[in-house]
C-alpha cells in the first residue's frame, strides 16, 4: 500500500526549474532514499512535501488526501515530520523543551486553561514531560535533558532533531542528510536507530543522504534526482549498476574514460 504518492511535482523559482515532473510512490513502512548530486532538488522536494514551498504544479497525496495548499503545521498535524540538513534546533531552549515543541499539537491544553492552571492541563503537561524524557532515552540523550540544545555535540544535535521529529508521532518521517558530518561509529548508531524506528514506531522513512554505504544498506527503494529530474528508481542493486546514475555522480567523461 502506498502511503505517499507524489504526482508530477514541479517547482520553478523564476526561470530556474528546481524540480521537474517528479513522481514517486512510497510504500507504507518502507525506508525510501532520495539521492542525487548537490543541487539536484532533493531538499526542495522535501520542502514541498512539508509545505514550506508550494509546488508550481503537481500533487502530493498522503493516504489519498492532497497536501497541496496546507500550511506547514497542518502537514505536520496530518503526520509528516522532518529533520533538517543544516540543523535547526531551538538552540536557546533545553533539550527536553525541544522535544516538547514537537509534541505541541498532540497536547490538547487550550491556552486559556494553561494560563489559569486548570488541573487537567497541568496533569497533561506533566505526562508530556515524562513522555518527552522517554523519547530522549530512546534516542540516547537522557544525560542532556536540561542542557541548552545549542551546547550539545554535533552528533547529539542530529539525534535530538530526530527525537523532536518523532515526538509528533508522524506517519512519515523525512530525514534530510541525517548522517552528514558524523563519524563511522555515529553513522552505525544512526543506522540502527533508523531500522529500529521503522519497526517500533511503525513509521515510513524517507531520507536524503550522501553516504552511499548507509543508503545502500538500509533503503528498500531509491529515487535518484539530477538537475531536478528523476533519472532512475529501483532497489539498491539496480541503482548501483545504473549507467545514468553513475554518470550523474561522476560526470559523463569520467565514465567513458574509465
Amino acid at each position: 500500500m502506498n502511503i505517499l504518492e507524489v504526482k508530477n511535482l514541479t517547482k520553478k523559482f523564476g526561470g530556474l526549474m528546481a524540480t521537474r515532473d517528479v513522481s514517486m510512490n512510497v510504500e507504507k513502512n518502507s525506508i525510501t532514499a532520495v539521492i542525487g548530486p548537490n543541487g539536484a532538488g532533493k531538499t526542495t522536494f522535501f520542502n514541498m512535501i512539508t509545505a514550506v514551498y508550494r509546488p508550481t504544479s503537481g500533487d502530493i497525496l498522503l493516504n489519498g488526501k492532497s497536501l497541496v495548499g496546507l500550511k506547514p503545521h497542518q502537514v505536520c498535524h496530518f503526520g509528516i515530520s522532518r529533520t533538517f540538513q543544516n540543523i535547526r534546533l531551538f538552540n536557546e531552549q533545553t533539550v527536553i523543551e525541544n522535544v516538547l515543541v514537537g509534541m505541541h499539537q498532540r497536547l490538547k491544553g487550550h491556552w486559556i486553561g494553561t494560563l489559569l492552571h486548570f488541573p487537567e492541563v497541568t496533569r497533561e503537561e506533566e505526562a508530556a514531560k515524562v513522555e518527552a524524557y522517554k523519547i530522549l532515552q530512546y534516542v540516547g540523550l537522557e544525560e542532556f535533558v536540561n542542557e541548552s540544545a545549542g551546547n550539545l555535540p554535533y552528533g547529539a544535535q542530529r539525534r535530538l532533531e530526530i527525537g523532536r521529529a518523532i515526538a509528533a508521532k508522524p506517519k512519515i518521517l523525512l530525514l534530510d542528510e541525517p548522517a552528514a558530518g558524523m563519524n563511522p561509529k555515529e553513522t552505525r548508531q544512526l543506522t540502527d536507530l533508523i531500522h529500529d524506528m521503522r519497526h517500533r514506531l511503525d513509521v515510513t522513512i524517507i531520507l536524503i543522504e550522501h553516504d552511499m554505504k548507509l543508503v545502500m544498506k538500509i533503503s528498500d527503494y531509491l529515487y535518484v534526482l539530477d538537475h531536478g529530474e528523476l533519472i532512475a528508481e529501483g532497489k539498491p542493486d539496480e541503482i548501483r549498476n545504473n549507467q545514468r546514475v553513475i554518470e550523474a555522480y561522476l560526470g559523463k567523461e569520467a565514465t567513458q574514460r574509465g
Binding site: 506547514p72 531552549q93 516538547l100 515543541v101 505541541h104 508530556a128 523532536r164 521529529a165 509528533a168
Partner: protein, 329 residues
C-alpha cells in the same frame, strides 16, 4: 547626605509602586518584540485604554443602585477583569487587522512600526472622543478606592531613616502586579504554550514545521501582553486617581525603556528593568534638588533615569539580561 538616607524608605515605597507598573507594561513590549521583532508603540495606549475601561466600569457600577454598596474588593476585581478582557481582545484585533496583513506581504519591519504609531493615535483619539461624549470631559478623576493610610515605622528601628507612609492602593498594586508577574513567568517558562512562544520567537519557520500554529501563538502573545497592560491601566487609575488619554504615551516610552534596559525580548529582564527604572525615577524626584543644591528640581527626574539608561547601554548594549548577539559570518 543624611537627608537622602532619611528619605530612602519613602523612595522605596513610591519607586516600587511605579516600578511594578512599568514592569508589567514593559512585558507587553518585550513579548511582542521577542516574537515579531516589532516595537508595538500602540501598547502604551492599550494600557491607557485599560484605565479608561476600568473607570467606565466603576462609573457604571456606581450608577446602578444595588451595586453601589458592593465591597470595594469585588468592585476592583470586576474592573480589572473587564479591562483585561477588553484590552486583550483589542490587542488580538489590532494584530489581526493591522500587523498580520503586513507580515503576510513580507513588509519591512519599519512599516509595521509606523503602523503601530498610527494605531497609537487612533486609540488616543477614540478614547478621548468616547470619554468626552459620555462624561463631558476627557480627563477622568475617580474616587479613591483604597485610601486607608499606612505608616511603616522605619524610624524606631533604624533611627537614620524617616518613616514611610503609603495608601492601601500601594498594597493592592504591588500584590496584583506580583501575582501577574509570577504567573506569567510560570506560563512562559513551564507550559506548552510558553515553550511554543519561545520556539516561535527563535525560528518561526522551524516552529511551524514542528506543528506549531504560528499565527495562533502570535495571537495568544498579543492577548496576554495587552490584557496585562490593560489590567495595569486599572492599577494606575487606582493608585493615582486621574487619567487622561495621553498617559499611555510617556508611560509607554518609559516601559519600553525598561524593556530595553533589561534586554529586549527577555521577560525577566523587562520585570527587573521596570522596577529599577521606577526606583531610579523616584530617587531622582526626591533628591535631585538636594544633590544639585536647588539647581534642578524633581521635574528633572526623567533626565536622571534616562542618563542611567544611556550609561547602561553604552557599556552593555544588549541590556542587563540580554544575550550579546554574535555576528555570524
Amino acid at each position: 547626605m543624611s537627608q537622602i538616607i532619611q528619605l530612602l524608605p519613602q523612595v522605596l515605597v513610591d519607586g516600587l509602586t511605579l516600578g511594578f507598573v512599568y514592569a508589567v507594561v514593559a512585558i507587553g513590549y518585550t513579548m511582542v518584540y521577542g516574537i515579531l521583532e516589532l516595537i508595538n508603540f500602540a501598547h502604551g495606549d492599550i494600557f491607557m485604554t485599560g484605565s479608561f475601561v476600568g473607570a467606565g466600569v466603576l462609573f457604571t457600577v456606581m450608577s446602578m443602585g444595588f451595586m453601589s454598596s458592593a465591597p470595594t474588593m469585588v468592585l476592583f476585581m470586576i474592573m480589572i477583569l473587564v479591562a483585561a478582557l477588553i484590552t486583550g481582545v483589542m490587542g488580538v484585533g489590532i494584530e489581526r487587522v493591522a500587523y498580520r496583513p503586513l507580515r503576510k506581504r513580507n513588509a519591512p519591519k519599519l512599516i509595521a512600526l509606523i503602523t503601530s504609531i498610527g494605531i497609537s493615535f487612533i486609540l488616543e483619539d477614540a478614547v478621548r472622543f468616547i470619554a468626552d461624549w459620555t462624561t463631558g470631559n476627557y480627563i477622568i478623576t475617580t474616587r479613591p478606592l483604597f485610601q486607608h493610610k499606612f505608616t511603616i515605622d522605619f524610624h524606631s528601628v533604624f533611627p537614620f531613616f524617616n518613616n514611610a507612609t503609603f495608601q492601601g492602593s500601594f498594597l493592592v498594586v504591588s500584590i496584583v502586579t506580583i501575582i501577574m508577574l509570577i504567573s506569567l513567568d510560570l506560563f512562559v517558562s513551564k507550559t506548552k504554550w510558553g515553550i511554543a512562544m519561545r520556539a516561535v520567537a527563535q525560528d518561526r519557520e522551524t516552529a511551524s514545521l514542528m506543528s506549531i500554529n504560528v499565527n495562533r501563538v502570535i495571537s495568544v502573545t498579543f492577548f496576554i501582553g495587552s490584557a496585562l497592560g490593560g489590567a495595569t491601566g486599572v492599577l494606575f487609575l487606582i493608585q493615582y486617581g486621574t487619567v487622561d488619554p495621553y498617559i499611555g504615551f510617556i508611560l509607554g516610552i518609559k516601559a519600553f525603556t525598561a524593556a530595553v534596559l533589561g534586554g529586549i525580548g527577555n521577560i525577566r529582564g523587562a520585570m527587573f528593568g521596570g522596577i529599577l527604572l521606577g526606583l531610579l525615577e523616584m530617587f531622582a524626584a526626591a533628591n535631585l534638588s538636594t544633590i544639585t543644591h536647588g539647581a534642578m528640581g524633581s521635574e528633572y527626574k526623567d533626565v536622571f533615569a534616562f542618563i542611567i539608561l544611556i550609561l547602561v547601554l553604552i557599556f552593555k548594549p544588549e541590556g542587563l539580561f540580554g544575550k550579546a548577539t554574535i555576528e555570524k559570518v
